[in-house]
């Protein structure tokens, strides 16, 4: 299958700090891939470059063959990329269903005068919006919360609502920034299942940032490891697990020098 997103030699600097360094990256259509790396390795910065929050200084990002680097976020979303955030960012004072309806914004076309006059097309569209919003809430199991203020929802529900809002924009590529952060093992397991189902039900390509290695290893078809903004490894989960550079970046000297964790000298005795 053809890659849906291609990044070539993407570099993003902040002052003197190189946050993302000449990153090459590809993700196949309909794949689930992960970007991992220690805190501060440039994962979220890379996400922000894809979604237009940051403009990379160098390099090219192509989405479905079109260059998107430097475009404003609204244009990129309209092209079919949606995302969630590491620390949930819902429209807190709007209701859950309104959040989903905002998500549909790029797929709606009618103007303010249609809204004022209530043209037949507008009435039809709004009816559709409402139905789809309820469907989406149904899909993520939040219909009971539909008319509640978003920031009054429980934590897990807020995470799911954020995904529903992203889905509402009918994306082809969905970026999930730490979807299981702060979840217990059972919720995490459910989320893994949910992400798979999501991909199949909506014919999506999913790219995620994740810290929980278990999640990453279970779900990803491909893993890219970043450290200091540079790609240090890429491949299938099994390959990544065995890659010495990854182990070094994640686990430090004990593991890197070839000792297993158990054999590491107990210096702290």
């Amino acid at each position: 299958m053809a890659p849906i997103l291609v990044a070539r030699k993407v570099t993003k600097r902040f002052g003197g700090l190189v946050a993302v360094n000449e990153l090459d990256f590809e993700i196949e259509e309909h794949a689930i891939a992960s970007v991992i790396g220690p805190n501060g390795a440039g994962k979220t910065t890379f996400f922000n470059c894809i979604t237009g929050f940051y403009v990379p200084e160098e390099g090219v990002i192509e989405f479905e063959g079109k260059e998107i680097q430097g475009l404003r976020p609204d244009k990129i979303t309209t092209m079919g990329i949606a995302r969630t955030y590491q620390n949930i960012r819902l429209f807190g004072k709007m209701s859950a269903i309104e959040n989903v309806m905002v998500g549909m914004h790029p797929r709606l076309s009618l103007h303010w005068w249609d809204a004022v006059i209530h043209t037949p097309a507008f009435v039809r569209q709004e009816r559709k919006v409402l139905r789809r919003a309820w469907e989406l809430l149904d899909y993520i199991g939040l219909t009971d919360w539909a008319n509640h203020q978003a920031n009054s929802l429980p934590y897990g529900a807020q995470r799911r609502l954020e995904i529903a809002r992203a889905l509402a924009s009918e994306p082809k590529l969905l970026l999930l920034d730490e979807p299981t952060a702060g979840m217990n093992p059972q919720e995490t397991a459910e989320m893994i299942e949910f992400i798979r189902k999501l991909r199949d039900d909506w014919n999506l390509t999913i790219l995620l940032i994740e810290h929980d290695m278990k999640v990453v290893m279970t779900i990803s078809e491909k893993i890219t490891v970043l450290d200091f903004g540079t790609k240090i490894a890429e491949g299938k989960p099994e390959e990544i697990q065995r890659n010495p550079r990854v182990i070094e970046a994640y686990l430090g000297r004990g593991a890197a020098s070839g000792l297993s964790a158990a054999e590491a000298p107990a210096q702290a005795a």
């Binding site: 002052g15 003197g16 700090l17 220690p38 805190n39 501060g40 390795a41 920031n151 009054s152 429980p154 934590y155 730490e178 952060a181 702060g182 979840m183 217990n184 093992p185 810290h211 929980d212 290695m213 278990k214 990453v216 290893m217 200091f228 989960p237 697990q241 182990i247 070094e248 970046a249 994640y250 686990l251 430090g252 000297r253 004990g254 593991a255 890197a256 964790a261 158990a262 590491a264 000298p265 107990a266 210096q267 702290a268 005795a269």
Partner: protein
């Protein structure tokens, strides 16, 4: 009696229940580490100890004294010092000014000068750069500055939040060496780390957090050998 003790601490961010009954102790002279994934509540625990996020339930005591009656800036006077996540150096202030602010609560110029020398001995790089704005330092140097600054208040217990974050492995090693050195000189340390195995190599004891709860508590050695710890932090089946 433990130097620092948390008993059944519950804390919330808005309506999000971030800590669900944490109890832990740190004894005088120890290095204790808290490990766990992102969002497990490690940083929150430190914020509770320094009253940046006062607990809604439970107690935090230092040497038997309840800390929740104090505000953050008074906690420092009690002998707790924290190196925040992401270092939190004052980027627009110089290295020297940052260190001086570390001794903000103190009024003994000679003692301060002594401690400044001690920090410069631990981190010779900082001495070279004392006139420079802290924001221009590299990540490793900023981490050194943050630790040095925290030492300037002569804390009894030092709270470290992810000192290895965003640092090259070689630097991580030296930072961890220095942490051990500081501990040897008599400062108790509570270390929060994602780099679990690294942290368990220098710590005496450790706690594993998951979604706001402590799921494991043991000596560092036992934790290193624990299958679950290995699996979770290596992803090995």
């Amino acid at each position: 009696m433990a130097l620092l003790e948390l008993h059944n601490v519950h804390a919330y961010y808005g309506n999000i229940h971030a800590l669900k009954g944490i109890s832990l102790t740190v004894d005088e002279g120890e290095i204790v580490t808290l490990i766990g994934a992102n969002g497990a509540g490690k940083t929150t625990t430190l914020r509770v100890i320094t009253m940046l996020l006062p607990p809604r339930e439970g107690t935090v005591t230092l040497n038997g004294e309840d800390l929740s009656q104090y505000r953050t800036h008074e906690i420092v006077l009690k002998g707790v010092s924290m190196v925040p996540e992401g270092r939190g150096v004052f980027a627009r202030l110089t290295v020297l000014e940052n260190l001086e602010l570390g001794a903000y609560t103190r009024n003994d110029p000679s003692g301060i000068a002594e401690d400044l020398e001690r920090v410069f001995t631990l981190f010779p790089r900082l001495k070279e750069r004392q006139g420079q704005a802290a924001g221009t330092l590299s990540g490793g140097e900023q981490q050194m500055l943050a630790i040095g600054r925290a030492l300037m208040s002569r804390p009894r217990i030092l709270l470290l939040d992810e000192p290895s974050m965003g640092l090259a492995p070689i630097l991580v090693e030296s930072i961890f060496d220095i942490i051990q050195e500081i501990n040897r000189q008599g400062t108790t340390i509570l270390l929060v780390e994602q780099n679990a195995l690294m942290a368990l190599q220098i710590a005496h004891r450790g706690y594993v957090l998951r979604t706001g709860e402590i799921v494991l508590a043991d000596t560092a050695e036992n934790l290193r050998n624990n299958e679950m710890v290995q699996k979770t932090y290596l992803g090995m089946e």
